[in-house]
């Protein structure tokens, strides 16, 4: 089943220790995530939704919304 946007927001919030994460937030610029944080967010998504996100795709992802879309696309393609 595809995740709801708020599930992704909650996951990002848990990983970064932040409340009130919004869909439009830029994960690095607005939420202060460094590379390792982004890798850890992706690892958590992979574990939870049983998807694979390649390292090459990471630079493409800027916002929480893009992250949500990527996970949904990946689940749909399964």
């Amino acid at each position: 089943m595809k995740p709801k946007a708020e599930d992704i927001q909650a996951l990002v919030g848990r990983q970064l220790g932040l409340r009130g994460v919004r869909l439009e937030d830029d994960i690095a610029a607005d939420l202060g995530a460094v590379s390792a944080d982004i890798i850890n967010i992706v690892a958590a998504l992979e574990d939870l939704y049983r998807v694979v996100i390649a390292e090459e795709e990471l630079p493409e992802i800027r916002t929480v919304e893009q992250l949500h879309k990527l996970v949904c696309d990946r689940i749909e393609a399964r």
Partner: protein, 532 residues
Amino acid sequence: MHARDFSTLLEMIAYHARANPKHQVVTFRGGGMAYEELWAAIENFAGNLLEGGLERGDRVVLALPNGPGFLVSFYGAQRAGGIAVPVAPESGVGRVADLATLCDAVAVVVDDNLDDTAMGTLAKLVAPAERRLFTLSDVLGWAPPAPQVSVGPDDVAFLQYTSGSTGDPKGVRLTHQGLLTNMDQMIAGMGITEEDSFVSWLPVHHDMGLILMTMVPMLLARPMVLMPTSVRSIQGWMRTIAEHRATFTAAPDFAYRLAVRYLRNGESPDVSTLRVALNAAEPVRVNTVEEFERSFGLGHVMAPAYGLAEATVGVSMWGPNEAIVADDRGCVSVGKPFPDVELRIEAEEGEPGAGELGQIVVKSPANTLGYWDNDEATRELLCDDGAIRTGDLGYLDSDGNLFMVSRIKNIIIQAGRNIAPSEVEEEVEGLRFVRRAAAVGVDRGDAAGEQMWVFVEPTGGREKATEAYDEMVIDVVSAVQERLGMRPGRVYLVEPRSIPMTANGKLKHAELRASYLDGSLRADGKILHPAY
């Protein structure tokens, strides 16, 4: 030029201020500082510390980011006869104040951009012990009389705090003599010449970034480009090397993995001038070396190396100019010891033969004489002949090449930084809802490398609402971030009494990690939150 030509680091800088006054010591954010400017600023800062009552051997804590201001404060404290104590500037003010207490510092220097709240909190924390609090612009802005203090080779230049697996961080005492000796060892062992030029984003508050990447270039009066320490800097790292035609750089393995990834974004800086890309401070992966050299079209430039603060910093290095060697475990050799460094392996039953595992023991004239104000830890560290027990497990092959296999000490190495699980656990256990916490290092084999994972037993057992659990996880992550300036890779809330302990109440970190990795912790229903 040899470091042994000088008796102290200060003499080395004073020499260049006379011989090469206009020569740029450091390039930082497009600007920089010449030797004569640096020396004048060092004298200023020292004069002010002395006017403020600093006495010989007094400690000065420096919580400063990369930049010329660090160099001024670091050597200024020494010039006044004091001992510099660098700490990670991203640490929370609580941690800075704790370190100031540990070494009983007389002064603390912080960056100008520390916000008012943090500055106020720090001022309150250091006030009862009458420690003076300066900002970097205070340090750079004064002009008192020149100091009249003589500093000798056996004086302690700085304390390098390192995290042990238990107890408080320990301050490794590093003398001018030991530092100069290790600089010569590294220059000879790494084949550094007066043609080399250096680019580094490594933190100057820590030994590899400080000694190898700033002191060595200063000794040789060679170009040194310093970048801010942030993972973001890694993005511009190779570009900076290309721009300055640098020949020497150093970083932990994860940084080279990230450099390769950024290359995939389409950029391809020409770093063909690079002669040595030293890889140390966390396990070297064969893949990283191969991908880095292939992606940037380089020969064998990557040089896996080994070192530790207790030996000043550098102990051994592989290559460069030779293909790396890895054993069946995938463990990459860190080469042969530098000149005047002897390595031996000690097991419970005497000295093992070639290829047999034991504790790596280092004998070197650059070894520390011990920790600051901690005789018990010093006794554990030093052998009768002055050699140091590294706490690392490894072996020597039949050619005398060192392989560092794992750590005996329970330490987490995240992004090249040593983190004591006990420091994380203490911080997390300070949260009102936490009954017990355990931090372990987990390496999933991805680009992040080893990360700290924190397991937390909340008080009160099972909650119903996911939101309540989320709140707890957020509090744990932000507490760790506030203290250390870095986030855990993952936080798990677990059932009460599911963190394994010994009969006398010691956490069994290895057992906890194993039960997580083999899936039994989850299968036994011990993980409350989150569901991945």
